[in-house]
Each structure stands twice: as structure tokens, then as C-alpha cells.
Symmetry: C2
Subunit: 595 residues, 2 copies
């Protein structure tokens, strides 16, 4: 933190990238992936920090105060956002991981994970404008025809135009099967889209001359439910022959929401009125196509959560270092003097908790980004499969575990501030308002937990989970062999064993009562989250022990934080394992809520 | 909840009062206390609900939107607050528990606890105007001279004037020893007070013609630190010979804070400029005198927390009952239909958690109110002592445990709402902003935890805690003897045993390292909180089993919620007990926060 503004923790990012994850070697092993040396990555760290600390962070509070304005059907973003967006695109940050054929830099996904974290940490309202474009771009690249890709790929890759994700309708949120927006063939291969969408982030704004909406809708004779949903690309302006924004299309922003936070991002009510759209992917398979974007958005939510956790940590650490109250324990009792509250153990507990959550998430999310590339580019097909399996298993964990921890972290950061934290000028109250969307959007955390337990574990008969358990056990062995200490291995091995026992027991309960999945899923996700963080904190301890010189303060810091994690946060699994098998009927007692 | 507004849960309040706590018998045993029959109490429930549901709840959202305005040194409260305050005082709600000699109704404190809960649940910003008067009144009654009592007692009891609590200064929050406000003898027995105070709730407003500030300040030759603090009564207007507001005193509101929530309550920066004030209690013993008010405010914070937990429960329950998404587990899979999300086990988990926290808090806080009266009025001196000991032991628990659970509850309530919860119109986002002050003000929850472990347990060598453990064990025996089930007794007995073992171990650790108290205190408070809630949920299960007829839906509901509490929430103690003995040095590693 410099000048009271978010600063990227470059050294910790490097520790995750180089000492823990060994990204140079990891990426070097991949065929087809772009080369990525330490110099390039370090330049990205520095350059993105300059943008985020220097340009975006200073607009965070002013954007929150000013908010967005709707004029007619046009949204005005807060002062400075237009310039900041130009700085973002002109700096080349938009096309970092886009394909070279679309003018992108084709860098490994980990570059995008790093930038996503910094954007979220410095100005999450701003981040949502360009970052949804990235999801739309990935979705188009994976699913759209070459003709659509040729027109829209370069525009989204360069950030000249931005993208949105139009799923939710008033009656269809978690349950997309209920959506009603209609698509009628237009005779020339295109479609006419009509209906209303709500909660569309960045759905309308003045940062770019065109907006590309990715819209779920139903064809005339589509089956009911989720099997009758198709995906359409609907531009705000139809491109002319030169690819410039031409005729205005029939999509209008009728309102923007008043929200707890994210004031500088326009959350739009969109009306589609015979809007011209183009089918993306196969008819009635829109959800499958959209999943590329949804998964991208879920990992993106994890990155935002990490960014806000880091912001909160920096703010509360700075406050705790400067706020003088009471003598610290063990200090001489001179009543007229006071020590920084940073020296109070209860304050350190709150700071260390944030630190363990932030740095654990960082290793986890960078590693997941490596799996994205490995799934596509690893030379060995078995490694591609394994990476894909782990990615699909852990995407809900990256969304839900990281965001729930982020909410807890920001709450702790406010608590460290005491009364000052409740005051607008402290800045932490904005972080608290902003962070609270993360467990809700892109599929609530309850939906993520259900996805993990029902689809990724039980339906898979524990296959993908087995990969994770094997990783955890191998790491427990490795850290012990390294001499860093059994304290970083034994708990991990024990938890792996308990999860392995739990799954068939849950499967049996769920076979007897379909409600059991929903009854156990949130606790199960938290347990798996700790297996993951335990795995990375074990790797961090090992890396610090074996790769950092003895005099390096980072070595002591990492070992201390890993120890704190295992002693203080990891025991949450004790509570969760107790709850895991509470029979679902306990939640379905018909009288229990007749208040 | 009626018309989307907070409604007092009268039946659950009655269950706590009559079936669980047997208040009629309890209060009947007291000498000196006012009689309190069921009819009177029921009238209070109904009358206060009419005021809170009918008058205060409708001003909650509008008050939040409008906020307070500072004009010169005067604060304008939001539209409707003046009328509402008149309805409050004219209804006699102000003097409910005030002495008859001051024109009060001298009702038992439990009446005030009930009304405090309803005020907090319906409009916490409003609640802070009259409720601080109650604390000021109690403080004056306990500490001020008969002359001061004669002038100010009736004014505060009737609510004609209001009170404030002026402790915090910019450099002195948790550490009151650092405060600098000065009091200089005026020659005629009065004093001149000069200095600045911040974060003064209800410090200035237009609801009453006079405001009575209770101000901590230092006499000229006072010792440094907390032993040199005295308490003064400083009215905004000096009363004339007839007791009417006369000459303007030198206390001015220079600013009001912009806050996350509580927008309709003026949080003031007050400047005292040679303001005339009167010593309350002994010189240099101001903190002792102020503790009457602080303890009242801490219990009041618990009541507000309970009120907001109840509000959140009502809102999320109403939303979950009407929001249709997906089929519930076990329902026929017809894709075009959807069930209320109330039927989803993961949603019920969130609702039941709120319910267990709310109803557990209710039994606990009403019981604490009974202890206040027992301490003063019980015929048997041993019972007075025991009540006083339990009250002092559990006041920090009532403040911190109840408010932390309230924050969790409101977070869950927002989560139940999904995306709608993040929108201002849902109302729950205001609750989330309002509730977040509770773990901060009136002594942060970290301060409460330290008070509990250091002063109420370790310094007391576990004496008062022993009383609580004895209660818990007797209840475990009683519930088992009642036939309600060992599940409501065994966990309580086991936890009592583990706490009993923990205390000497903590004492030994703390003797070796003074930092251990701060390192263990938050976990310790949560563990004691569960002993308390376990005790009351055990009593609730027993009362439902033995006193409610078999066909009564409340009987099944209470047993189910008690079971949910013990199976789902109580296991938090497993996690906390694991953490409790982590050595303090783990929190004091000098490198651990060198980010």
C-alpha cells in the first residue's frame, strides 16, 4: 500500500509463481503454449501494478461516490473511467491471452489471473467492464463460426468493444430452465431476439462504441427447461461492411440498479426488442456453450475476491501499524504511552487470517490458471485430462471458497479499524459493500457447493476428487521429506483420508434421500477448500524451507503463516466434518420454520 | 412480518418468557421488584409491537435514504422521526423501568429488554435516540447527587430530554486512559469542560428540547491514565429555575459522520468549550460510574443485535417462501414448474441458522434482564451475589456473541435473497449496513473477549464461571430426566467439562506469556457463548417437551431447532477448542506481517 492505495504485492506474487509453482518450468513443458520467461512475467507484474495502483485505484472511491447515471437508454460512467479504459486497452491489457489471429498476445492464462487479481483489488467496479469481454471472447473463440469470430474476435480481444453475459431474467436466476427470452429465425440465418434480462453487469456504458451481448434465449419449438436454451450474439450496434458500429440494434437499457456496492459498474435491466442476433454453438445447446463464459466468470470472481482480500489486508495492516492504543502485552506499563495495535495478539489474529486467506488463494488461483493451459496444451493427453478434471472439480471451490473467505477477510479488516472502519472516509466500508456481491453473482455459493458435490464428486464417483487426494498425499510426503516439518504434512494426509471415507457415506445417504446433497454440500465445499489451501500452504512451507535463504525474512514469514493456517484456520474442518452427515430430514422438518 | 415490515414475534417472545424462563414465578419471588403478571407483559408485547411495526418500521428505509443533516450546529433528523419520538414518549415507553420517584413505571428490566429488541429490529437508527437516554438515566440514578437526580431524573425518565455517552476522542477509543478532555472547577461546585469528543451517537438532534451529555474528562491534577478520569453531566441547555432549558451551554456539534449504515442516527463530533458541567460520582472514579452506562449499552447492543437478527430472518423467510426456482429435492422433475426455494435444504440451513441464533439470543437476553433485577431485589443475598456475578460474567458475551451472530445472520439472509439481496429495494442491504456497527461500538468485540477472559474469568479464578458451569450441568441432568432426550444434555455436560479443564491451562499459559490472553480470548468467548446458548436451547427443548401439548406445531418446531442448534452450530466449539491453546508466540512472530 502506497499513498493509501492498493499496491500489487509483487514479491508475494513472485513467491507463488516462482518458488511455489515453478511456472517457468511448468509452462516450458507445454507444447503449443506461448513461452513465458520470468522476465516477461515480471514485466507484467510491474506494468499491471503501474496501471492498477496509478490509474485505477485512485478512481475507486470517487467512482463509488459518483456512481453511474442513466440518461435515456445510455449509461454515463463516473469521471475518469473513460480515460482509464483507454489506458487499459492502449496498454495491451485487454488481449493478453487472446489468440494471435485475433491480434492478442497469446500469453498463458496465468498472466490474466494476475491482472484479474490486481484489477479486482484496485477497482472492482472498473474491472467488470473489460473482464466480461474476456469471457465473451473465450466463449466466441470456443463456439462461434469462423465468420463471427473474424468480426467480433479482434474487437473483443483489443477491447475496442466490450462484452456482456445475459442469462438472468426476473423469474429465472439460479434456475435458467425458466427463462423466456425468445429467438425467432430471421430468414437469412440470423435471429430476432425479444425478452427482458436483469442484473447485466456492464450491460450499457460509455467506455466503448459497441457492446457485444451473449444472450441465452429459446427457439420457437425448443424443448422446455434447460435443454431448450440457445446462445446468441447480439451487438448493440450491427457492424457495417467495414466492421464499424452501424445500425442500432434493438437492445435497450431501461434501468440501472441501486446496489449495496459496485456503484461504478452499471448493473442493467436490458430489453431486447426484435434485436438481431446470431446463433453461437448448436441450437438448444446454449448452456454448454455459455459454460465457457460462466467458468471464466467464476474463476474471475475468485480473482476479484483475492484482490479485495489483499486490499483489505493492506488497509487494515496500515491502520494497525499507525493506530496507537494501549500498551501491547509484555510492554512496560507506562499509562501515558501507547503501542500500535498491530502488536495486540487479537489484532494479529485478524491480520494473519486475512493474510493466510489472501496468499492461499493466490497460489491456488495461479495454479488453476496453469491447469487451464495444461488442459489445452500439455503434450501428454493424460496430463490434459488430469488438468481438465482438476479444473472442473475446483472451479466451484475457486468461486465459493475464495469469495466466502474474502467476505470474512473484509469483515475482519473493518473490525481492525474499529469505529473508523464504519466511516465512509476509511475506504474499508466501500470494500465491504463491494465484496458482498462475490458470493452471490456468477452462481451463488450454494449453487457452487451443489455443483461440486452432486456433479463433480458424486456423479463422477469421486474420480476427479481422487486426483486431488493423490496430490495432497504426495505433498504431505514431500514436505515431510524436505525437513520443513510434519506439521505441514500430517494434517493434510489426515484430511485426505477423512474426505475419502466421507464420499461413499455421503453417496449412500444421498441415494436414500435426494435432499442430502443440498444438506451437506456447503460443508463439503468448505472441507475441500481446506484440503486445497492445506495443499498450497504445505507447498509454501516447503518452498520457503528449501528455496529461500535462511536470513530472508520472507522465509520466516511464510513458515509462520503456514503454521498459523494449519493451527488456526484448518481446524474449521473439525466443525464441518461433524456437520457433514447430519441427515437431511433435519432440514426438512415441516414445522421448523413456521415462525 | 406483515406488509414487508418487521413484526415482533410475540409467540416466540412468550415462549421464552413463560415456558422457558417462567418469568411470573421468577419475578414473583423478588422482594422490592414491581409485580409483573402475564397480562401486563402481554400488553407490553402488543403495545410495543404496535409502535414498532406501525410507526418505526415504516420510517426505517426512508430514514436511511434521507439521513441526518447538519445545519450550523443543529442536526435535522429525517422526516417522521419527530412524530415517532412523540409517539414513543407519549406511549410511556421511555420510563418503563425508571423509578416511580422520577415518574417512571418501575417495571422489571425484562420489559426494557423486550422493547429494546423490538426497537432495534424495526428501526435501529431511531432506537439509539431514546435508548441512550435510558443508560444515562441509570447512570445518574446510580451515581449522581440527589439534587442532580431531582432535576435530570424525571426529564430523562419521561424522554422529554435525551442522553448521550461521551467517551471517545480521536486519540482515545479502546484506550480511554489517553483521553484529554479537561474539567476545571468553576468555583461554585460546578466545572468547565473543554475538549473534543467523536463518534457520539444521538449527540445532537431535533427530537427533544435538551440533551444531557455524560462526559468523561480529567480534573487539573488528575493522575495519568484511567485512574484520572472523572464523569460529568453536561446539558446542552442549562436548566432554568423551573427546570426548563435556559442558557445555551458550550457544547457544539461541528460535524456528523458519513457512515456505512445508521444513516438516520446522528453520529456527532462534539466540541466542549468551557461548557458547564456537574461531577457525577467521585472525582477520578469516572470510569466506575460510567460503567453503569457502558454495561447498559452493551446489553442494549445485544438487544439491537437480536432485533436485527429477527428482522433478517423474517425478510429472508418471506423471500424464500415466495421465490420459485428449481424443483425441490424429492419433487417430481417437471422442468416447467418450480418450487419455493424455502424447500431447498441449503436454504433451510441458512434460515435455521438465523432462527437458532435469534431465538437463542432471545432466551439469553431476557434471562440476563432477570439477573439485573435479581441482583438488586432478590430476597436472598446469596442470590443477589450469584445474579450479579453471572451478569458481570455474561455482559461481554451478550454484547459480542450476539452481535457476531447477528452479522452472520444478516449475511445469510442476504445470501438467501440471491441477486435481489444486493439491490437497495430489497431492504436487506440496509440491514447488512446497519448491523455491522454492532461488533464495533460500545467496546469492540475483541475488547469484550479480553474483558471476559482476563477480568471475568482469570482474575476471578473461575469463580463466576463456576456458577455458569453448575447451571449448565444441572440443566443437562434436568433435560435428561425430563425425557426430552440425552441429545440436549450430553453435549452441554461435555462442553462444561472441557471449559473447566481449559481455564487452568489458559491461566498457566497466560502466567508464562501475557500475550496469551489476547491470543485466546476471542475463541474463548465463542466457546462460552455456546455453553450459554446450549444451556438455553436445552431449556427450550425441555420446555417444549414438558409444557407444550403434543399437537402444538411450536413443540415440534422448538425441538427441531434445538436439535439443529446442537448438531449444526454447537460443533463450532470443536474448532475453537482446537485453536484455544495455540501459543501466543505464533501471533507475535516479528516477520509474520512484513508484507
Amino acid at each position: 500500500m502506497k499513498d493509501g492505495l492498493y499496491t500489487a504485492p509483487q514479491r508475494d506474487m513472485q513467491f507463488a509463481l516462482y518458488e511455489v509453482l515453478d511456472v517457468e518450468t511448468e509452462l516450458g513443458r507445454r507444447a503449443g503454449g506461448a513461452p513465458m520467461d520470468r522476465e516477461t512475467l515480471d514485466q507484467i507484474l510491474e506494468g499491471a501494478d503501474r496501471l492498477c495502483h496509478g490509474v485505477l485505484a485512485p478512481l475507486n472511491a470517487s467512482g463509488d461516490r459518483e456512481g453511474c447515471r442513466l440518461e435515456g437508454h445510455e449509461v454515463r460512467t463516473p469521471a475518469g473511467f473513460g480515460q482509464a479504459y483507454r489506458a487499459y486497452t492502449e496498454g495491451g491489457w485487454s488481449g493478453l491471452c487472446a489468440s494471435e489471429e485475433h491480434g492478442g498476445q497469446a500469453l498463458p492464462t496465468v498472466a490474466s489471473a494476475i491482472v484479474g487479481e490486481m484489477l479486482g483489488g484496485s477497482n472492482i467496479s472498473f474491472a467488470l467492464y473489460p473482464r466480461l469481454s474476456e469471457g465473451a471472447y473465450r466463449c466466441i473463440r470456443a463456439n462461434a463460426t469462423p465468420e463471427l469470430q473474424a468480426v467480433y474476435g479482434p474487437k473483443l480481444a483489443s477491447g475496442e468493444w466490450t462484452g456482456t453475459m445475459c442469462l438472468t431474467e426476473a423469474q429465472a436466476g439460479t434456475d435458467l430452465g425458466l427463462l423466456r427470452t425468445k429467438a425467432v429465425p430471421d430468414g437469412d440465418g440470423a435471429y430476432r431476439i425479444s425478452g427482458g434480462k436483469i442484473f447485466i453487469s456492464s450491460g450499457e456504458h460509455d467506455l466503448a462504441p459497441n457492446i457485444v451481448h451473449m444472450v441465452l434465449a429459446r427457439l420457437p419449438d425448443a424443448p422446455a427447461g434447460t435443454r431448450g436454451i440457445s446462445l446468441f450474439l447480439v451487438p448493440k450496434f450491427l457492424p457495417d461492411a467495414d466492421g464499424r458500429p452501424g445500425e442500432r440494434n434493438g437492445v435497450y437499457c431501461d434501468a440501472i440498479e441501486h446496489k449495496l456496492g459496485l456503484h461504478a459498474n452499471a448493473t442493467c435491466v436490458l430489453r431486447f426488442e426484435q434485436a438481431r442476433g446470431y446463433l453461437v454453438g448448436e441450437a438448444n445447446k446454449g448452456l454448454t456453450a455459455m459454460f465457457v463464459m460462466m467458468n471464466s466468470a467464476r474463476l474471475g470472481t475468485g480473482a476479484q475476491a483475492l484482490g479485495l482480500t489483499e486490499t483489505a489486508l493492506q488497509k487494515s495492516l496500515a491502520y494497525a501499524a499507525e493506530r496507537l492504543q494501549s500498551r501491547a502485552p509484555g510492554q512496560e506499563r507506562a499509562v501515558t504511552r501507547a503501542d500500535p495495535i498491530l502488536l495486540q495478539p487479537d489484532v494479529r489474529r485478524m491480520l494473519l487470517t486475512q493474510q493466510a486467506w489472501a496468499q492461499g488463494a493466490r497460489m491456488f488461483l495461479y495454479w488453476l490458471a496453469l491447469q487451464i493451459d495444461a488442459e489445452q496444451h500439455a503434450a501428454d493427453p493424460a496430463e490434459r485430462d488430469r488438468a481438465g478434471g482438476l479444473l472442473s472439480l475446483l472451479t466451484p471451490v475457486a468461486k465459493a471458497f475464495v469469495s466466502d473467505n474474502a467476505v470474512e477477510s473484509v469483515n475482519l479488516a473493518m473490525q481492525v479499524h474499529g469505529g473508523s472502519g464504519y466511516i465512509v472516509e476509511s475506504g474499508i466500508e466501500q470494500t465491504l459493500r463491494d465484496v458482498r456481491i462475490l458470493p452471490i453473482y456468477e452462481g451463488t455459493n450454494g449453487v457452487q457447493a451443489h455443483d461440486l458435490l452432486a456433479r463433480k464428486v458424486l456423479a463422477d464417483e469421486g474420480g476427479r476428487l481422487g486426483q486431488l487426494l493423490a496430490l495432497a498425499r504426495a505433498q504431505a510426503d514431500a514436505v515431510e521429506a524436505s525437513g520443513a516439518g510434519a506439521e505441514f504434512g500430517a494434517p493434510l494426509r489426515e484430511l485426505a483420508g477423512r474426505i475419502e471415507e466421507a464420499v461413499p457415506r455421503l453417496a449412500a445417504l444421498a441415494a436414500g434421500d435426494p435432499a442430502q446433497v443440498g444438506a451437506s454440500s456447503t460443508d463439503f465445499l468448505r472441507i475441500v477448500g481446506h484440503l486445497v489451501y492445506g495443499y498450497f500452504w504445505s507447498r509454501a512451507a516447503q518452498a520457503a524451507w528449501t528455496r529461500l535463504p535462511e536470513g530472508d525474512p520472507l522465509r520466516a514469514e511464510k513458515l509462520a503463516t503456514a503454521r498459523f493456517y494449519f493451527e488456526h484456520l484448518f481446524p474449521e474442518t473439525e466443525m464441518r466434518l461433524r456437520r457433514l452427515f447430519v441427515p437431511a430430514e433435519r432440514y426438512t422438518n415441516p414445522c421448523a420454520l413456521a415462525v
